[in-house]
């Protein structure tokens, strides 16, 4: 069955898998009415979570400043 992990803590991949499972379950039509409504709500939450993760696709490139083999800071990189 589904993981009990909170949707907000799921990785994108986990959320997608859970959503797929929810949809399949609903499509099979074997769940009780009340459970199907709960499933739908969970599916909607998963979808929103995934969509948020996909939306947060912003490029950010930084150069590590290292000292003695340790990263001590970053410098933004432009134009690469």
């Amino acid at each position: 069955m589904m993981t009990d992990k909170a949707v907000s803590e799921m990785s994108f991949e986990e959320a997608m898998a859970a959503l797929e499972q929810v949809v399949t379950q609903l499509e099979r039509g074997e769940v009780a009415l009340e459970q199907s409504i709960a499933l739908y709500e969970k599916g909607a939450a998963l979808k929103a979570h995934c969509a948020a993760k996909l939306k947060a696709a912003e490029e950010k490139v930084e150069l590590i400043r290292a000292a003695e083999g340790r990263a001590v800071g970053t410098t933004p990189v432009e134009g690469l």
């Binding site: 994108f12 797929e20 499509e27 039509g29 199907s36 739908y40 930084e62 150069l63 590590i64 340790r70």
Partner: protein
């Protein structure tokens, strides 16, 4: 050599040890200021000083070699025991030990074959240690948030990676700049791998959840840093999943074996690192649509089922119509039936009500009379029948005696007749053989008569004769003329003509023959 007496002075100048050693040093350094020497690396040692001591040898000789700390650090290839190398440097001496030695600036593998052999040897050793074990491989995250790239910050490689990431799924990228070739390459790459792993999650610098170690194509020597044990060990030890992308597709370095995933090129590494965002969006949209459709379909199906069940439920009036009709029918018939039943019962009751003792007595008297009459009729009829049977029997008895007499008479007559027939047959049986004999005798006589009549001797009696010549019967004149003797037989005997008298013959003769003579 050094006897008690001092050596006699001669022409040669006298050196001190140091003077001579210095002279030798000058000669050697002057003569061999820059040499290239080929040989196999012997024992190698690197004490804490950082200087590198090793031997160069061939099958007959050994030369001690030293690389000072600064020189050793710059070497692209570090000499290892058993390696075939060409060392470049200058000869010098170490007067303190009366030694001469080669100060090595650089060491190059003697040919690619030697380098490959060494690489293979190192690979086998690391593999034996389990560093390349497939069980050690970590899965690459599906969608990393932060990607650490270890490569040169300038050049095509990082641009290729960023470009491809931008196309697929723009991410937060941290570049750890390193030298990707040269003496410091291996150490820097190893340090970068360890440095990324050392970042604490949630710290000021985000800890990457994926590392890419990348370098463009190059010669075996160019890529050599990625074959170094220090790099291989760092990659194998990385807790952050690591993709190696060193060189071109055909180049394989040892870090590729230790990495969790090997990409043939830096661009391919970016493709392996992130999914395509647009595809994910499409997938998500499709899933979302399916979700909506599924819930709507679920509701629709339930509604439909409810309606179907509702339709299947029969209406109340239709349920009641037929029983109601039957009720009407039967209740309508109920009134008439009740009246009729009552009338029928009343009539029966009235008949029964007439049943009184007088009636019964009269009825009984009537029945008794009837019974007596019937009994009388029955006994009369029985007497008559009996009488009839009696007379019939008497009649049969009277007919019985004459019939018996007749039967006996007939039987006696038949017996007498049969006896007479038997007697007659018996007498005929007695006579039969005698008569048969008489008959046979008479026939025999008759037949004999016939025989005598037909025989020629009877003919002789009638005047005929038989002519024989030489004992044979002669029937023609020609036969008679040919015979020597002739004989005539008559009925009473034979007469020889001419010659000797015939034999005794019977007295008989034919009439025809007789007339011939």
């Amino acid at each position: 050599m050094f006897e008690d007496s001092p050596a006699p002075p001669g022409n040669q100048p006298e050196y001190t040890v140091s003077e001579l050693s210095g002279a030798v040093k000058r000669v050697i350094e002057g003569e061999f200021g820059l040499v290239r020497v080929r040989g196999e690396v012997g024992r190698v040692s690197r004490p804490a000083s950082g200087h590198l001591y090793f031997d160069l040898k061939d099958d007959r000789s050994v030369i001690a070699a030293i690389s000072w700390k600064g020189q050793a650090a710059k070497m692209q290839v570090r000499p290892e025991e058993g390696m075939e190398v060409v060392a470049t440097g200058r000869m010098t001496t170490f007067p303190g030990q009366s030694k001469y030695q080669l100060i090595v600036d650089d060491v190059a593998p003697a040919g690619a074959g030697a380098l490959m052999a060494m690489l293979e040897k190192r690979r086998a050793a690391l593999q034996a240690e389990g560093l390349f074990d497939p069980a050690r491989k970590q899965p690459i995250p599906y969608l990393p948030q932060v990607i650490g790239v270890i490569t040169s910050p300038s050049g095509a490689v990082i641009r290729d990676i960023l470009h491809r990431l931008r196309d697929r799924f723009p991410r937060h990228v941290l570049i750890w700049p390193v030298a990707v070739q040269g003496q410091s390459c291996a150490a820097e790459v190893a340090a970068a791998i360890r440095g990324f792993n050392a970042l604490a999650p949630g710290g000021p610098i985000p800890r990457p959840d994926l590392l890419i170690v990348a370098r463009g194509g190059g010669s075996l020597e160019d890529l050599w840093g990625f074959n170094e044990e220090i790099v291989v060990r760092a990659a194998a030890a990385s807790r952050i999943p690591l993709i190696s992308a060193v060189g071109h597709e055909t180049d394989t370095t040892l870090i590729d074996h230790a990495a969790d995933l090997r990409a043939p090129t830096p661009t391919a590494a970016a493709e392996l690192a992130v999914p395509v965002r647009m595809e994910l969006l499409a997938t998500l949209d499709a899933l979302s649509a399916r979700l909506s459709r599924a819930i709507a379909q679920g509701a629709a199906n339930r509604g439909q089922r409810l309606r179907d069940l509702g339709r299947a439920l029969p209406r109340l009036d239709s349920l009641l119509a037929q029983p109601s009709q039957r009720l009407d029918l039967w209740s309508g018939r109920l009134g008439g039936a009740l009246g009729m039943a009552a009338a029928r019962k009343r009539a029966a009751f009235e008949r029964a009500a007439r049943l009184r003792p007088e009636t019964l007595l009269a009825l009984i008297a009537g029945k008794r009379g009837e019974l007596q009459a019937r009994a009388q009729r029955l006994s009369d009829r029985a007497a008559v029948a009996l009488e009839r049977k009696h007379s019939q029997m008497d009649k049969w008895a009277s007919r019985l005696d004459p019939a018996l007499t007749r039967l006996l008479t007939t039987a006696a007559r038949d017996i007498a007749r049969d006896r007479d027939r038997l007697t007659a047959l018996d007498s005929r049986l007695q006579a039969a053989p005698a008569r048969r004999l008489a008959d046979l005798a008479a026939r025999l006589e008759q037949i004999d008569r016939t025989r005598q009549t037909l025989g020629y001797r009877e003919t002789l009696k009638r005047g005929f004769a038989v002519m024989r010549g030489d004992g044979h019967v002669v029937t023609s004149k020609a036969a008679a003329e040919r015979s020597a003797t002739l004989e005539v037989e008559f009925a009473d005997g034979r007469l020889a003509l001419g010659g000797r008298p015939a034999k005794k013959g019977r007295s008989e003769g034919g009439r025809d023959q007789g007339s011939l003579f």
